[in-house]
Amino acid sequence: MREAHRARVLDFLRTIQKPDRPLEAVAESDSLVEAGLIDSLALLEIVAFLEEQYRIDFAETGLEPDQLTSVSGILDLIEREARA
């Protein structure tokens, strides 16, 4: 299941990433902002994606700063929310 989520998340990140940075070159645990792949405010687009696609309610759960900064952080969050 994690593989399916990963493919979906990566497809989404390709739609918001800076166009000249290869997503594949960023390690799964790297910060997407620090790697220069996305703008810091693009976090809002990741939040909107997770709310819409995975029904995660951040107003309810709050957000830990590191949760959405890396691909692995996003996948962990999706899996945690699926179990809750």
């Binding site: 000249d20 810091s40 830990e64 700063p65 590191d66």
Partner: protein, 479 residues
């Protein structure tokens, strides 16, 4: 802070700084920046805070426009290497002097601060404020807003930006209030904004709508005590977002503030009594007279006179304030167009209601407002000039869910294929800060033109909106 300022005045005296010298400051949003600013002012010099993300080409243009004598850099070798030999580089940490503060050499009418904004001709446009105009802004804010709500102020905005520097930071801090400052636009900090407010007992903060869109989604509200007051400005604040900020912050005193770099930022807001958030509502003037005229600029004023619109009638917003800039640096042509006998043509459209409150209805000048950062489309166009294979480009505003607006670009090219688009992207990337680079690109056969043969940005925008933009990621990565 007094010691930090004294150490820097000693260093500047040693380096031969003279009153009137211009000094570039490349990194803000930290204590050392404010110490540097006060030291320069104490010695009668003029500070030029810069966006640290500028490209080498942009920096070279600013050097040409401002002729700085010194440049204060941290450990950024790249910045130092881009500066010509005429600019002496001073290390930000090179401040080991001791002793008392020297006498204050700042003359009220002398230049104190230059803030560069995006130039409509593609050339840098430096807004020059004197000590007198800045002090007039702070005095007006203190008179209209008091200080109590600003006792513990948080600044999340960049300090090379009038809103962040002059109003959010210097207004409360120089009046003796506590200032807490963070690096700008850091998502990890925004995610814990409520906790940050609790931890430091923050009473006030200002920001831009794009930051609030994110904070309301990801940050839990403060728990200990509500904020006393919030300002939001630099971009249109939709009523729904306004209500959301009120709910999150726990205060009704969420003021939509209006201001331009030319007026020392905040010049009006919803401070004059109860109000219901509404799209475009600004409120009462703070140390300014607001007039809504039929004339759009100096030429219009000469032709139409000072005729004012009736309450409720939309016209051009003009401001008179002692906090007005001295002018645009070295650009008397631009200054004369917007400044007539102390009357400033803002370029905004609006109405005054029966109470004298301002409501904004739009902007008449070409400008892209990306989350509060104003970008002149002509500056984006100019960055493409000279790129081989490019016939014509036209930048324009596109709607953006995150920033409100973003930069779109239409391009006509002499050759087929994706390679030419990739070459143009890389060409522009070297000449334009990343934040100003077009987010969406279209390739068109010909630019729509007006009857007079001029490219019409509105018509280009409409033509592009009808079809999907290029997949730039695929083009640049050769997939």
């Amino acid at each position: 802070m007094t010691r930090a300022v004294a150490a820097r005045t000693a260093r500047w005296t040693r380096r031969g700084l003279r009153p009137g010298d211009r000094v570039f400051l490349h990194s803000g949003n930290r204590l050392e920046f404010f110490a540097e600013l006060l030291a320069l002012w104490r010695l009668g010099a003029c500070a030029v805070p810069l966006d640290p993300r500028l490209t080498r080409v942009e920096l070279e243009r600013l050097v040409e426009a401002a002729s700085p004598r010194f440049s204060v850099v941290d450990d950024s070798v790249e910045v130092a290497s881009a500066l010509p030999a005429s600019v002496a580089v001073v290390g930000a940490d090179e401040a080991d002097g001791t002793g008392d503060l020297p006498p204050d050499l700042a003359e009220p009418g002398a230049d104190a601060l230059i803030l560069f904004t995006s130039g409509s001709s593609g050339r840098p446009k430096g807004v020059v404020h004197t000590h007198a105009s800045l002090r007039a802004r702070w005095a007006a804010l203190r008179h209209h807003l008091g200080l109590a709500a600003y006792a513990r102020t948080l600044c999340l905005l960049p300090t090379h930006f009038g809103h962040g520097l002059i109003c959010n930071s210097l207004f409360p801090w120089l009046a003796g209030q506590d200032l807490f400052i963070t690096p700008p636009f850091r998502p990890d900090l925004l995610a814990r904004l409520g906790a940050l407010i609790d931890e430091h007992h923050i009473t006030f903060l200002s920001s831009v709508p794009a930051v609030w869109r994110l904070a309301l989604k990801v940050a839990k509200p403060p728990r200990r005590a509500p904020l006393e007051r919030v300002h939001c400005g630099s971009a249109p604040l939709p009523a729904t977002l306004w209500d959301g900020i009120r709910g999150w912050s726990g205060t009704k005193e969420v003021f939509n503030t209006y201001g331009l770099t030319e007026t020392g930022s905040w010049v009006a807001g919803t401070s004059g009594g109860p109000f219901t958030p509404a799209d475009g509502l600004i409120g009462a003037p703070w140390g300014a007279t607001i007039r809504v005229r039929r004339a759009a600029d100096a030429d219009g004023l000469a032709a139409l006179g000072g005729a004012e619109c009736a309450p409720g009638e939309t016209g051009h917003v003009w401001l008179e304030t002692p906090a007005l800039m001295r002018g645009y640096l070295g650009r008397d042509d631009l200054t004369r167009r917007v400044l007539v006998d102390g009357h400033f043509a803002t370029g905004d459209l609006g109405t005054l209601d029966e109470r004298g409150w301002l409501h904004l209805r739009g902007r008449e000048r070409d400008e892209i407002n990306k989350g509060g950062m104003k970008i002149a489309p002509a500056e984006v166009d100019a960055a493409a000039e000279g790129c081989p294979g490019v016939a014509e480009v036209c930048a324009f505003a596109v709607d953006d869910p995150l920033y409100g607006q973003n930069v779109g670009l239409a391009v006509t090219m002499g050759q087929e294929g994706d390679e030419a688009v990739g070459d143009l992207y890389r060409w522009m990337r070297e000449r334009l800060a990343e934040t100003k680079l077009p987010a969406r690109w279209w390739r068109v056969d010909a630019m729509p033109r007006s009857d007079r043969g001029k490219v019409s940005r509105d018509a280009v925008r409409e033509a592009c909106a009808a079809r999907p933009p290029l997949d730039l990621t695929r083009i640049l990565q050769g997939r």
